[in-house]
């Protein structure tokens, strides 16, 4: 069946009431009853929940073949816990047919690629897949199609019961002996733990894994002991130095700076740029650099940002410290500066869950109040559909993250990307995978010019009034193909290796097994 973004969704996936994507706000106003976890009563006095090893905790929580386990990725590339726990489950306990439901996967979890190839892990549910795991999934080695959800889509799936977690393993920088756990105050801090909150409420069993045990009560804490079965102390949960990826650093690259400056100009030209506006950037170099240029426009106009949302880097914290931002609503931290800032400013740098952040199936996530979001793209096509999941070669190597959530929720969604990367045309005729539908995307800023979605004549008028030159997205696409040549169509096998859910739970696209070109 063809969905609203023109993608063919195989009928065999449309079982159990599963629908194809039917456009934005399709599920708005629908009611449903939330799923609940299996709970257990602990009436007897209990001094401590600390257990001797990960294996003991797994056994206590009834780890078994075929179960679903979950993790969060606040330590990003510095995460130790996912690999550590999976090693115990697969190599020590000999479990198989496991499904791993994590908030994201990257090279820190490369070991899981081996378990996929060995058939021990048969299911992956994640907001993204990078590194070797993406390659083995694309090569068709995972037994069931991977399920890719946005950061808001994941808590939705957990709360509706589509994703049921048997055991959630939550890496925490500190915990007390009862399981009150957080991402600050320990030997290795990750900052906000917004990704793990839904898991802690809805998993049948919750195990907190920390390297810094602190006296009870470790409060306030995003993970509360009433949800926690067991606490395990290990030597190190992660390496904070690896949280900040290359992408997350403020760029000195002149191309990125030029694009960032143009984003700030576009933002400042709209009516939403007024006292109390709200703002989010993605983690890419050019989007993060927008902060720096926005500051001048705010000072010139004498306005302040009401709140910034989502993942936080040091630069937005600096902006707050200069008195230019009211509140930071933080789901995750991208660098040490932001982590320290979260710890030091509990009155205005606030930790939120990803359900609060971006879940389309609650009574109003904060993305719905967002004015601007600036996001990156691997590809964007002439319908403004964005791909942040698959490379132009068809291999899984990205993550929708909060991209579709913020794009749909915000009043003005700006995509910033170079026109071409090497020989890959970023602005293309048809993206490999639609991760964010084009009707949620308003402006495209490239190094070769700006294009506004024709569905937003109001924004076109804003740019014209501010004398900001712009062209059609077709012109940019043609320019890109003139530079790099028209790419050949990728060739696919029938086998679906990953299913991409829209944030409302309908099927937005599927990724098939790529047939590599052999000459």
């Amino acid at each position: 069946m063809i969905n609203a973004v023109g993608r063919e969704i195989p009928d065999e996936l449309l079982t159990d009431g599963r629908e194809v994507y039917q456009g934005k706000y399709h599920m708005d106003g629908k009611s449903f009853r939330k799923a609940g976890p299996m709970a257990v009563r602990r009436e007897k006095p209990q001094e401590s929940k600390v257990l001797g090893s990960i294996r003991e905790a797994c056994e206590r929580c009834g780890a078994h073949d075929g179960m679903t386990v979950s993790f969060h990725h606040a330590f990003r590339n510095g995460d130790y816990v996912t690999s550590m726990v999976m090693k115990v489950l697969v190599e020590e306990m000999g479990l198989k047919d496991l499904t791993v439901a994590t908030t994201s996967l990257g090279s820190a979890q490369d070991r899981l690629a081996d378990y996929i190839e060995q058939g021990k892990i048969i299911g992956i549910q994640s907001s993204g897949v990078r590194g070797r795991i993406g390659e083995v999934i694309s090569a068709g080695k995972l037994r069931t199609p991977a399920v890719i959800r946005s950061h808001g889509g994941r808590p939705r799936a957990i709360e509706t019961g589509e994703l049921h977690i048997d055991i959630s393993f939550i890496a925490a920088s500190t915990s007390d002996d009862y399981g009150n756990a957080k991402g600050t105050g320990g030997k290795h801090d990750c900052g906000a733990m917004g990704y793990a909150v839904a898991d802690s409420h809805y998993a049948d069993h919750v195990v907190v894994i920390t390297d810094t045990l602190v006296p009870f009560p470790n409060m306030p804490a995003p993970i509360r002991s009433i949800d926690v079965d067991a606490v395990v102390v290990v030597s190190a949960v992660g390496d904070p130095a690896k949280i900040g990826t290359k992408e997350a650093r403020i760029t000195k690259d002149p191309r990125n700076l030029m694009m960032a400056e143009n984003c700030a100009r576009v933002i400042a030209s709209t009516p939403y740029f007024k006292e109390g506006f709200s703002f989010q950037t993605g983690v890419g170099g050019p989007s993060l650099a927008v902060n720096r240029f926005l500051e001048q426009y705010m000072v010139d106009k004498g306005i302040r940002m009401g709140f910034a949302l989502g993942g936080m880097g040091g630069n937005i914290c600096d902006l707050m410290d200069k008195g230019l931002v009211g509140k930071l609503l933080d789901t995750q931290d991208f660098d040490m500066k932001a982590i320290r800032h979260l710890q030091d400013h509990p009155d205005r740098h606030l930790e939120i869950s990803t359900s609060e952040y971006a879940n389309a199936a609650n009574k109003g996530a904060y993305v719905n109040k967002l004015d601007f979001v600036v996001l990156a793209a691997l590809e964007i096509d002439t319908d403004f559909n964005v791909n942040v999941l698959t490379g132009s070669d068809g291999v899984l190597r990205g993550a929708p993250g909060g991209h579709p959530d913020t794009a749909e929720g915000s009043k003005c969604c700006i995509i910033v990307t170079p026109l071409v990367r090497g020989r890959m045309a970023t602005v293309c005729k048809r993206v490999v995978t639609v991760t964010t539908p084009g009707d949620c995307v308003d402006v495209l800023v490239t190094d070769y010019g700006i294009a506004v979605n024709p569905k937003r004549p109001d924004l076109i008028e804003c740019l014209d009034r501010a004398s900001i030159p712009h062209v059609t997205i077709q012109e940019l696409q043609e320019k890109a193909y003139r530079l790099v040549g028209t790419p050949d169509d990728l060739e696919w096998e029938d086998r679906v290796v990953a299913v991409l859910e829209a944030r409302d739970g309908t099927i937005l696209d599927v990724i098939r097994k790529i047939k590599p070109l052999k000459l």
Partner: protein, 100 residues
């Protein structure tokens, strides 16, 4: 033009291509690796063969390791490798003639 000795041009940096030619005796034997194989493999092959034909190279082993080079870079690397293999890359190059 003949391939007299093994010669190399280009680098493995992003947006570049490294081309190695060496003498052969059974037509053009092309080995191609590319970071954009699935989308551009055929076009890269066509460009390389086109340049070799234009230079009159009939027998040659050629290895191209492409890191996303544009066509103009690919051509420059293949031409330079062939000219180097004949020791004639430094002067009196037929710009606009065989090189175009």
């Amino acid at each position: 033009m003949e391939i007299r000795k093994t010669a190399l041009a280009g680098t493995l940096e992003s947006s570049d291509a490294q081309v190695t030619v060496s003498p052969g005796d059974s037509g053009i034997e092309l080995t191609l690796e590319s970071s954009v194989m699935n989308q551009y493999g055929r076009q890269i092959r066509a460009t390389v063969l086109d340049v070799l034909a234009r230079l009159g190279v009939r027998d040659c082993r050629i290895k191209v390791v492409d890191k996303g080079a544009l066509d103009c870079t690919l051509k420059a690397r293949v031409e330079c490798a062939v000219f180097r293999s004949n020791g004639i890359s430094a002067g009196k190059v037929p710009w606009g003639g065989d090189i175009r």
